[in-house]
Symmetry: C2
Subunit: 364 residues, 2 copies
């Protein structure tokens, strides 16, 4: 690994606890696997608590007199009523309503925001917009490295370290904790459906100490190192930028209708395009697919979903669910075939054809 | 690997010839190693010919009435006199003169350009600038996947396939070849100092056939699969965005003076900042470092370069050179210590201190 693929404040620690491989997100290492299987991690995440190095969720900080204007310009979600202390899932779209990213927006002050981004250089997009339009903002990537604590025991673990007050932090809200004399941002959020928090550590120099403190306190809660779990993510209907959506997709077909203001009350880059799409109706939507035939292979390219020999969609992520005892996938499915219960065939990349069925997300 | 890390038109082929690992550049796979060592590949590249999947050098296509204006706005290099058919190395900088990328610009027509990019989403920066300023351009990522043929035998190999006319293509110029009835762009360029070409394949569907054709014809030239070689790159003074330079660096300290127009004849985003830097003089410059102590470890974080116990710079890439029989590195070195022959100490990440010396790039 060269310096181009950035290490995180926690990389030394994840290596010590036996990381077996990394992926790369935002030019930074994301642990991908430890000593256990995806299935073992899945059950552990549902029952206990895990510590995830998600530093690759980089923050794009936008501050200044025109900060709110710029953020609103990038997203179809109405951020006008957002409160300081709130996290908002905000699709970022271009002028054709193509998805550029799907970050979580943290409102730190009326004139200061963080976009906690998925895998594309949103900073450069925001910077280009600001320079092109002459907006009065500063756009930076602060020294902030999120560490996620996920799973049903996350709250009790963090209470044992940081105090009872964190129980009052609502879902997709953030508050503050003290760590070694520093105030740090703690949000009730994370890329799983098992509950938990993300600590947006400011100053990477504290990274190893923060990891160690949680790790030590976590022993009483059966803590394990982890990372976003593909089974849990797919079952939970959590989407992945670059997998389920790219700039080829608009937010309406990805199920983000509730995050798209179409009534004309706010203006943003892709508004005209998005309204045209809404008027015509989308031609495809994101759905779940369950399918048979034993554990499917890794999905590293789209798999055709067919009805009567015709392609009606594509699976973009898929894996065997040990809980449902079927394969589960996420797929864009064409109009006319997206109703719950539609029977389909799935052609996985090993050449096997499997019988399947369209279902709603999330899987239950 | 998920779909988020994109495969290339050649990935099936590089797997067939025994790729051992990948890196990720521009959300796409870059082969990193085959069955041989970096040292074996180094000697092979210097003597024979190699086939490199460099599809990750994505093209940002900028076309339309304002295309030249937008490109000029992003770079301090004067592109006003560039000719159709020319390749230009163009630093892309922000308003503080920080480096955003260091692509090769291909001028396809007076109103159509490709930026063949290093690892950052230049498309989003260009799109933001264009939307913010209201420029009349279309910005897209075309279906173009560069395949590099590098090494001293590259020309004879490609002549055997595509004809004698390619000998007339000058360095950093491009021409056209016919492959299966399609006209394809061929440039005399590449990320090595051993000579060679890059085919900017349009339409990835032809990828496997193009690979196979070159592979078959290459048997007579002792062809091997390859990838950018770290020994050759460092010796040759070729810089890597994300390693030797980031947005923390300006082009003058990275040795790009000749690509920076400072006389006021062209305007661009970072001009005022760059002129201020030029007037004051840079505080550090890129240099080579040779150092002793046997083969050094992998450089995955900056290494301190010291004189008399004080840090005077940082090595950002380093490796053992079997030809020079010393370690070679690239480093930013502070004013007062950057003269050829300056003795230094290098602290590599294994904790070893090694005696070294500042030299000019490239290494000879």
């Amino acid at each position: 690994m060269s310096r181009r693929i950035r290490r995180t404040p926690y990389t030394d620690r994840v290596e010590q606890v036996g990381v077996r491989g990394f992926s790369v997100v935002n030019h930074m290492l994301l642990p991908k696997a430890y000593q256990t299987t995806v299935e073992q991690d899945y059950w552990h995440l549902r029952e206990h608590v895990q510590l995830w190095d998600v530093s690759c969720q980089r923050q794009v900080q936008i501050e200044g007199p025109d900060a709110a204007e710029l953020v609103q310009w990038m997203t179809p979600r109405n951020i006008g009523k957002a409160l300081v202390g709130q996290c908002l899932y905000v699709p970022i779209i271009d002028h054709h309503a193509g998805l550029i990213n799907d970050p979580v927006l943290l409102k730190l002050a009326e004139d200061r925001f963080w976009l906690s981004i998925a895998d594309s250089d949103v900073l450069l997009f925001a910077l280009g917009l600001a320079l092109g339009r002459g907006l009065d903002v500063q756009i930076t990537e602060p020294d902030v490295s999120p560490l996620a604590v996920q799973g049903p025991k996350a709250e009790d673990l963090l209470v044992s370290l940081f105090g009872e007050h964190i129980r009052d932090i609502g879902f997709f809200r953030f508050g503050w904790i003290d760590f070694q004399g520093q105030s740090q941002l703690l949000a009730r959020s994370g890329y799983s459906r098992q509950g938990g928090f993300e600590i947006y550590l400011h100053n990477g120099g504290y990274g190893p100490a923060l990891w160690d403190a949680i790790w030590a306190a976590g022993q009483a809660f059966n803590i394990a190192p982890g990372c976003p779990n593909l089974i849990e993510r797919i079952e939970g209907g959590l989407l992945s930028y670059g997998n389920e959506m790219t700039r080829e997709n608009n937010p309406l077909e990805i199920g983000m209708d509730s995050f798209c203001c179409l009534d004309g009350s706010v203006d943003y880059l892709g508004r005209a395009a998005l309204r045209r799409i809404a008027e015509k109706g989308v031609n495809r939507v994101i759905r779940g697919i369950t399918f048979d035939g034993g554990p499917c292979p890794t999905c590293s390219k789209p798999w055709a979903v067919t009805v009567g020999g015709s392609e009606v969609g594509q699976i973009t992520s898929a894996i065997w669910s040990p809980r449902l005892e079927r394969n589960v996938g996420q797929a864009l499915i064409k109009r006319g075939f997206w109703e719950h219960g539609q029977t389909v065939s799935v052609l996985s990349q090993d050449g096997v054809v499997r019988a399947g069925e369209v279902v709603e997300l999330p899987f239950v």
